[in-house]
């Protein structure tokens, strides 16, 4: 049975590779294998190099714990990934749960992940073991740890499988995966900042101290206990080592039992898929909402109310309203919001680590006049320009790239009501407006806080203006690209890290990032004027105005071009991937 499951998994991989888009997937697989071939020896050698160092045991404990946690979190964030591991697909086959568990266990052990895990864990063994007996304990510890990883991950995924198959569960998974990426980004930034910030030896000591305190907590849990058995065996404390291995093995057995129980439940109960929301009292609520909306403008005078009512009904605001609902409800939009957090972090880093080119000071103009590439010069305190421009460029890009990709085939609805190019212009304006509603306040709040903390209100205002200017310029370019090169964005179930379609997506990504350069070029007049005027104060008004004008011009171009190719755009974004 185990062999059957392993061959089923291999066949499914082969089937995916030979199907449509198989070329791109083959490239992905080759990259994954090449990455694994690099990571395995590097991880092994880095860990083995800890041999004889005082923190080796702590490192082993942390590594064992990190792998166990990774195995728990990753499949949940990527929806359990793998068809061969989904017990519900096998529910109709005449298999006993024990047979099924054995088969699924074998399938879970097949793949690059378990291999990478095993090899790197052996690096930890090489770091800690100082005798043949300790090495033997290490081999047992690795076997138990791999068992912990696989059984723990399967038990959790099986227990959550109903939720992971439901629409709400998948939505949550997409957002969680985005947050994990952001967390990794933030941790990376924090480590870089702390390591670069202090003297090198001090940073090293700080990292070592953190490692020891994390290890002291982690060694109380089964993965840490299992890892610590190697150190205890090296020190000749064999009974303690045996007890620790026993605890790890008992946990594996417990997890296998929990997994089998979860399998029973999944096989015997119908799929708890998305529940219909309860229906009571809805009509009353809808009627109430209508009344609330019509009375919202009651405080205005007659003509103002009529004008506001017309604006409210306008196509741009209608589209903006729908987009904002999508930001609230669509996991792909939510991930875009998570991506928006990256520029925010960048600004924070710019304000902290590269403490600045002193925008508030008189010399700021000249320094940013030469901004092409200098990430803030060393002189002076205050807020630097470059992070603000970079963050603005990224924010404009994230909020305006591939405007129709997320609409997908639903783009036919506005297209069916688009009979003049101005309709498309209004749609694009609405989409940009929704992005601005989310971006501008974030930048505003951030620079308000940064200005207060650094006591540099003038610098904060200029940096904010530059960010908005850059945001407008990159939004203009991204809007034009999204009309020329629309890319379907699948509501992908199997991977939360999936982007656009193969080939086309890659091309659009390259075009969009090339667009960053174009956007920067669009800002040239601002840079030139700034360098010539030797003052940044006028930027507070002119920067956002220039950004808004650029975005408006981009929309005009995009609408005129896009209107002529609506059916072609629809055909591309409707393509199933």
């Amino acid at each position: 049975m185990a062999r059957l499951f392993v061959s089923l998994k291999l066949r499914l991989i082969a089937g995916v590779l030979s199907g449509p888009g198989g070329g791109a997937r083959l490239v992905g697989l080759i990259i994954a294998i090449a990455g694994a071939l690099c990571i395995m020896p590097v991880g092994f050698v880095l860990l083995a190099a800890q041999h004889g160092k005082p923190d080796a045991a702590s490192v082993a404990v942390v590594v064992f714990t990190a792998f166990a946690l990774g195995w728990l979190v990753f499949p949940v964030a990527t929806f359990g990934t793998d068809e061969t591991l989904d017990p519900a697909r096998l529910a109709l086959l005449p298999l006993r749960p024990a047979q099924l568990a054995r088969g699924l266990f074998a399938a879970a052990l097949t793949g690059i992940g378990p291999l990478v895990t095993t090899v790197i864990l052996f690096g930890a063994v090489a770091a800690v073991a100082t005798s043949p007996a300790a090495a033997l304990v290490g081999i047992a510890a690795v076997a138990i740890e791999v068992g912990l990883c696989v059984a723990g991950s399967r038990a959790l995924v099986t227990a959550l499988s109903g939720m992971l198959r439901s629409r709400r569960g998948r939505d949550l998974g997409v957002v969680v995966s985005g947050l994990i990426v952001l967390l990794i980004f933030a941790v990376n930034l924090a480590i870089q900042a702390s390591v670069l910030g202090g003297p090198r030896s001090g940073a090293g000591l700080a990292v070592g101290g953190t490692m020891r305190s994390v290890a002291a907590v982690a060694r109380l849990a089964p993965p840490g206990l299992t890892a610590h058995a190697i150190a205890d065996a090296s020190a000749g404390r064999y009974p303690v080592a045996a007890a620790e291995l026993g605890a790890g093995a008992a946990t594996v057995l417990l997890l296998v039992w929990a997994w089998t129980a979860a399998l029973h439940r999944v096989l015997e109960n119908p799929d708890a898929s998305t529940q219909q929301a309860s229906r009571g009292g809805r009509q009353a609520a809808a009627a109430g909402a209508t009344v609330a909306r019509s009375s919202r403008l009651a405080w205005m005078s007659g003509p103002a109310r009529r004008w506001a009512g017309r604006a409210w009904q306008s196509r741009a605001l209608t589209t903006a309203g729908r987009e904002l609902r999508y930001y609230r409800r669509d996991p792909r939009r939510k991930r875009q919001l998570v991506s928006l957090a990256m520029p925010v972090l960048w600004i924070l880093l710019g304000a902290g680590a590269f403490a600045g080119s002193g925008l508030g000071g008189p010399g700021g103009a000249a320094r940013v006049g030469g901004a092409a590439g200098v990430a803030g010069s060393a002189a002076g305190a205050g807020l630097s320009a470059w992070p603000a421009i970079g963050a603005g460029l990224f924010a404009g890009l994230f909020s305006s790239a591939n405007q129709f990709g997320i609409d997908g085939s639903a783009a036919w609805i506005p297209f069916a009501a688009t009979s003049r190019w101005q309709d498309l212009r209004d749609d694009l304006a609405g989409k940009s407006l929704a992005g601005a509603v989310l971006t501008v306040p974030v930048f505003g709040l951030l620079y308000l806080v940064l200005g207060a903390v650094r006591q540099d209100g003038r610098g904060a205002a200029i940096a904010f203006a530059l960010a908005i200017c850059a945001c407008g310029a990159s939004s203009a370019v991204a809007t034009v690209i999204s009309v020329l090169l629309p890319v379907p964005v699948p509501e992908r179930r199997s991977s939360a890290f999936g982007g656009g379609g193969a080939g086309q997506g890659c091309l659009a990504a390259v075009a969009t990032f090339a667009g960053l350069g174009v956007a920067l070029a669009l800002m040239t007049p601002v840079f030139v004027a700034w360098a010539m005027l030797h003052s940044g104060a006028w930027l507070v008004v002119a920067g956002p105005a220039y950004g808004a004008a650029a975005a408006w011009a981009g929309r005009l171009v995009a609408a005129r071009v896009g209107f002529r190719r609506l059916p072609e755009m629809l055909a591309v974004v409707s393509r199933a991937i």
Partner: protein, 250 residues
């Protein structure tokens, strides 16, 4: 009216010179086997897919040259294209009402009525992504009818729909055509086409094999028999093999 419509996807010719004349006020059925080109033809007639050659006129306006007049005059229920799934039914209708430049009171009144008639009023907070297939078809029909179009194009409106929802959709369409409006719809359910439509066209391999009043096409037979005769399929086909099927010894 469609004249000499052609569409090619790579090496495949999906529609090869389709001519169709649909009289105003008729209930027109488009039938054909899978892959006959019905969806492609309807997409080209509604301006959602650009034909390689040929032209389409609706009430005297060219679909590709006069989109303002055409898009205001038609309602579409496409097959295989999604709606804005993360909106609720009423939100979708409100959004469409504004796109179609209906005033708010009209949109609200029509949306309420359509949701009630189509039995969707109870689910007005649920997102469309959580709707069943039948509910999706019904909200798509409501979306197509909201601006009271003169011509309605429906691609497989009864596909995957339970009998209760089918009866609801049917009664709405009956009421719509009795007012003198035109319906063009494609379907696999020949009995339904026969009972609903006054005119029918049979498509196969990208071409129209026959088109006209139902009685003329059927010529005294059932539409099913006329259809099979036209597309050249034999009812006995495919039953010659599988001789093992039906024995109890697995």
């Amino acid at each position: 009216m469609a004249a000499n419509l052609w569409k090619r996807f790579g090496p495949t010719i999906a529609v090869a010179g389709v001519h169709l004349q649909v009289p105003a006020g008729s209930f027109f059925g488009l039938v054909g086997p899978n892959g006959a080109g019905k969806t492609t033809a309807l997409s080209m007639m509604t301006g959602l897919l650009r034909p390689d050659a040929g032209s389409v006129w609706i009430h005297g306006a060219d679909v590709w040259r006069d989109p303002v007049a055409v898009k205001a005059a038609i309602g579409v229920l496409p097959e295989g294209l999604r709606l804005f799934e993360r909106l609720s039914g009423p939100e979708l209708l409100r959004y469409l009402g504004r796109l179609r430049k209906l005033d708010r009171e009209t949109t609200e009144a029509r949306a309420r009525e359509l949701l009630a008639v189509l039995d969707l009023a109870g689910a007005d907070r649920a997102l469309i992504v959580d709707y069943s297939t039948g509910m999706r078809k019904k909200i798509a029909l409501a979306a197509a009818l909201l601006h009271n179009p003169r011509v309605l194009f429906l691609d497989e409106p009864f596909e995957g729909v339970d009998p209760v929802a089918a009866r609801t959709i049917r009664s709405v369409l009956d009421a719509y055509t009795q007012s003198g409006s035109t319906v063009v719809f494609s379907s696999h359910v020949l009995e339904l086409v026969e009972s609903l439509c006054d005119r029918v066209a049979v498509m196969s391999r990208g071409q129209v094999l026959a088109s006209g009043p139902v009685e003329q096409i059927t010529a005294g037979r059932s539409l099913q028999d006329a259809f099979l005769a036209l597309v050249g399929a034999s009812a006995a086909e495919g039953t010659a093999t599988l001789s093992w099927l039906g024995s109890s010894s697995a």
